[in-house]
């Protein structure tokens, strides 16, 4: 016993050092994949409040650009209104619509804190569980896909952006509907890459990349970017497709959170499939 105390006293400094390191690294690894509480993230109330004050000052820096983007989006939507179209057939019949049912609804939000230069970048939004935001909902802006909700509190939420290590959004390259998984290597916030595309397929440069909408997190067809480069990977029969994002995440402000009304139905159905040996990370 005395030896033990002598040992502890002798290595006291190193033991404190090691335990603090272990605590912080365990928090880091756990929160990276699944945050157990909101208190160590920017979704917590105090942190988000301070960041909101900060954002109240800095949001005006990009005001004219954002207004312009919203205006353009308004024009696009207004063009679809029936009042803005020339009626070709005179006698219009109103039909009670039984073919289409609303599957996705959207919750508007604003980015109050963001980063783009780290290995894993998160955005904090000013909407939370009170507005109906839940973890694993998709987030996009008028120009492109943004990320997936990671953690929520009552009034705020943290979004794991497409600029993180294992975001794995499933996307398709448009004209031939090639499915792949979007990844980010941590170098450039303007470019990502698509994994899992066999190198016997021909891909045209500058073809559009959109979301596939496979697992109900995103609706199909939200723009991601354009194919900028196609590189071969050494030793593997796969292409490394470099995508240039259509959204500039460095100046992102207004976003929409996707709420899929039928996600529970889809997940209950897909939960009946027996689990695979390989880990399924498709989103």
């Amino acid at each position: 016993m005395r030896n033990l105390i002598a040992f502890l006293r002798r290595f006291q400094i190193f033991l404190v050092f090691a335990s603090l390191q272990i605590i912080s690294l365990v928090i880091y690894v756990q929160f990276l994949s699944f945050p157990r509480s909101q208190y160590l993230t920017t979704a917590s109330n105090v942190t988000a409040k301070v960041l909101t004050w900060e954002n109240d000052v800095t949001k005006h820096f990009d005001l004219s650009k954002n207004n312009y983007a919203l205006q353009r989006e308004n024009i696009r939507l207004r063009e679809r209104l029936p009042e803005f179209m020339y009626t070709l057939s005179a006698g219009k019949v109103k039909v009670e619509d039984t073919i289409f049912k609303q599957q996705y609804t959207y919750i508007p939000g604003m980015v109050i804190n963001s980063s783009v230069t780290r290995r894993n970048n998160y955005f904090t939004l000013n909407i939370g569980s009170k507005q109906g935001v839940k973890p694993n909902m998709g987030v996009f802006s008028d120009k492109g896909v943004v990320g997936i909700v990671h953690n929520t509190s009552e009034h705020y939420c943290v979004v794991k952006s497409v600029l993180t290590k294992d975001i794995n959004v499933d996307v398709i390259i448009e004209p031939i509907h090639l499915a792949g998984i979007l990844k980010w290597d941590g170098h450039d916030p303007r470019r990502g890459s698509i994994d899992g595309i066999s190198n016997d397929l021909r891909i045209k440069k500058w073809s559009r990349v959109i979301t596939r909408g496979g697992s109900g997190i995103f609706p199909k067809g939200i723009p991601v970017g354009k194919v900028e480069r196609i590189e071969s990977i050494e030793g593997e029969p796969l292409w490394n497709v470099v995508v240039r994002y259509s959204e500039d995440y460095r100046t992102l402000q207004r976003v929409y959170v996707v709420k899929n009304v039928m996600i529970e139905e889809q997940q209950a159905l897909e939960g009946q499939i027996p689990p695979d040996e390989e880990e399924d990370v498709l989103r």
């Binding site: 603090l20 912080s24 365990v26 880091y28 929160f31 208190y39 917590s44 980063s115 230069t117 780290r118």
Partner: protein, 171 residues
Amino acid sequence: MNNLTKNIIRFIVFAVLQTLIFNQLEIGYGFHLMIHPLFIMLLPFEMGVISLMGLAFLMGIIIDIFSNTYGLHASSLVMMAYFRPLVFKFYGPREGYDPLKEPNVFDMGNRWFTYVFGILLLIHHLWYFLVEIFQFNQILFILQKTIFSAVPSFLICLLLQSFLIKKSKTK
């Protein structure tokens, strides 16, 4: 102003500066400005390693909460605090440090400060990016980020001292 209140005020000032200003400055190309290591550096000479590491952990967790890095800053600041007495001992004068002085650039001179703070900052940044990226085939990228972030951080820390320390002397 006594030492304790001075250091409490410094703690708040560094946390606010880092979270609300330097975290938001994103230049790209691996530049990542971190000034909170300067707080650990400026703590008094006679402080024990354990309390140093405790303060470093607290500071790191606060920065982490504001930047969604979940313990990454805490880990690297504790690392730096652990190495601080070792580096101080290595570069210290033979008769030991004068307890009335403070480890800043004005009291200890440019040469001493550059060596000691440079080494500590490199340790801090290297550990931070090693854990953040955690891929050994990207070691060049890690080193590039370390150098690109440590050099501007060091210069800004030099500048900040002339704002923060001279003021505390006149009061």
